[in-house]
Symmetry: C2
Subunit: 203 residues, 2 copies
C-alpha cells in the first residue's frame, strides 16, 4: 500500500465501484450473520461476492477494515428519524426500529457477531461506537424538540435519553430476558420517557 | 464417560475436590479475561491451575462445560442483596455492584469474553442466562417490598425492574457511551425507579 493510500475501511467508493462495494459488504454481512467474525476471511468474501480477491485486499486490507466499512454502510442505510409530534411517539418509533433490527434473524445475528468481535478488537469497537454515535445524533433532535415544547426539563442530555431507549433491547439480545417484541420496544420507550420527565438525564 | 456420569459443567464438587475446582475456575477466568474464549483450552487451564489434565477433562469435559461451571461459581460468589429501606437505595446498591463488577479490569474483560462466547455458543448462552436469573431472583424482593410499602404500583414486574437497572450499564460496556462510573450507576437506578413509579413495568 502506498503512503498516500487511505487507511483500509475508510474508503468510500462511489460511481462504478459502488456495485463492488455493495456485493462485498453484502457477502461480509451474510458471512458474519451465518458464521461469526472468527470465520470472516477476505478471500472467501471475495469469492462469495463474485469479486476479484486482489480488489478486496487492496480496498479493505483486513477483516477489521471490512467490518468498519460495513458499519459505515449500515449507518448510511439506516432509516431516518420519524417525527410524530410527541416525545413518546418519537421514542417508540426509535425503539421499534431498534427492536425490528435486532429481532430480524440476519440483522440480529449480524449485530451479535459485530458486538462479539468488538469485545476483543479495539478497531471494531471504535467502528461500532461510530455507528452508534451516528444513530444517536440522528435521533437526539426529538429529545431537544421535547425540551423546547416543555415536555422535558431544560438541560436534559438528549444522547443519554436515546441510549436509554436502546439499552434494554440490546440487553435482551445479549443477556436474555423477555422476548424482543413490540411490547418490549414500547416499554423501552416509555421507561426512557418517564425517566427523562423525572429529570434523571439532566446534566 | 460412563452413562451414569453427570453432564460436564453440572458437577458441583465439594470437600477435598473444592480446592481443585477453585484453582481451575480461577485459571479459566484469568485466561478468558486476558485472551478471550477462543484461546480457552482445557490442557492450558490444567497447566495454569497446576492440576492434572485428566482431572480437568474428566470433570469439565469441554470448554463450554468449564465456562458453565465458572458462571455457576460466579453466581454463588456474588454478593447478597443489600436492604436499605427504600426502593431507590436498594436499586442504587444493585447498580453500584453491577458497575463495580463491569468496570473492574479483570471482571469486565471476563464478562465481555463470556457474552461474546454466548453470541455463538447456545450452551454458554444458557449458562449466562442462568447466571442472570440467579442474580435477578436475588434482587427482585426489593421491588416487591417497594410494592408492599406503596412506593410502586401493584402488579409491577420485579424482574423487569431489576433488568432495567443492569441494561444501561451493560450497554455502556458493550456498545460504548459514557464512562462506567458511580454516576452512571446512580442514573441507571434512578431511571429504573422513575419508570417503575410511572407504572411502565406493571404486567
Amino acid at each position: 500500500m502506498s503512503p498516500e493510500a487511505p487507511e483500509p475501511g475508510t474508503v468510500r467508493p462511489g460511481g462504478r465501484t459502488a456495485r463492488v462495494r455493495t456485493a462485498v459488504l453484502r457477502a461480509a454481512g451474510d458471512t458474519l450473520a451465518e458464521r461469526g467474525f472468527a470465520h470472516l476471511d477476505l478471500a472467501d468474501v471475495a469469492h462469495r461476492a463474485g469479486v476479484g480477491k486482489t480488489t478486496v485486499y487492496r480496498r479493505w486490507g483486513t477483516v477489521t477494515g471490512l467490518v468498519a466499512d460495513l458499519l459505515v454502510d449500515m449507518a448510511e442505510q439506516s432509516l431516518p428519524r420519524t417525527e410524530t409530534g410527541s416525545l413518546l411517539g418519537d421514542l417508540k418509533a426509535n425503539a421499534r426500529l431498534v427492536q425490528r433490527t435486532l429481532s430480524d434473524p440476519r440483522q440480529g445475528a449480524l449485530f451479535k457477531a459485530i458486538i462479539a468481535a468488538a469485545t476483543c478488537d479495539p478497531r471494531t469497537a471504535e467502528a461500532l461506537h461510530r455507528f452508534y454515535d451516528t444513530r444517536i445524533r440522528e435521533w437526539a433532535p426529538c429529545v431537544q424538540q421535547a425540551v423546547d415544547r416543555g415536555e422535558l426539563p431544560r438541560g436534559t442530555d438528549a444522547h443519554e435519553v436515546v441510549r436509554a431507549v436502546s439499552a434494554p433491547l440490546y440487553y435482551s439480545l445479549l443477556a436474555g430476558g423477555g422476548p424482543l417484541d413490540e411490547a418490549a420496544a414500547d416499554r423501552a420507550a416509555q421507561a426512557a420517557a418517564a425517566a427523562a420527565r423525572a429529570g434523571v438525564y439532566v446534566r
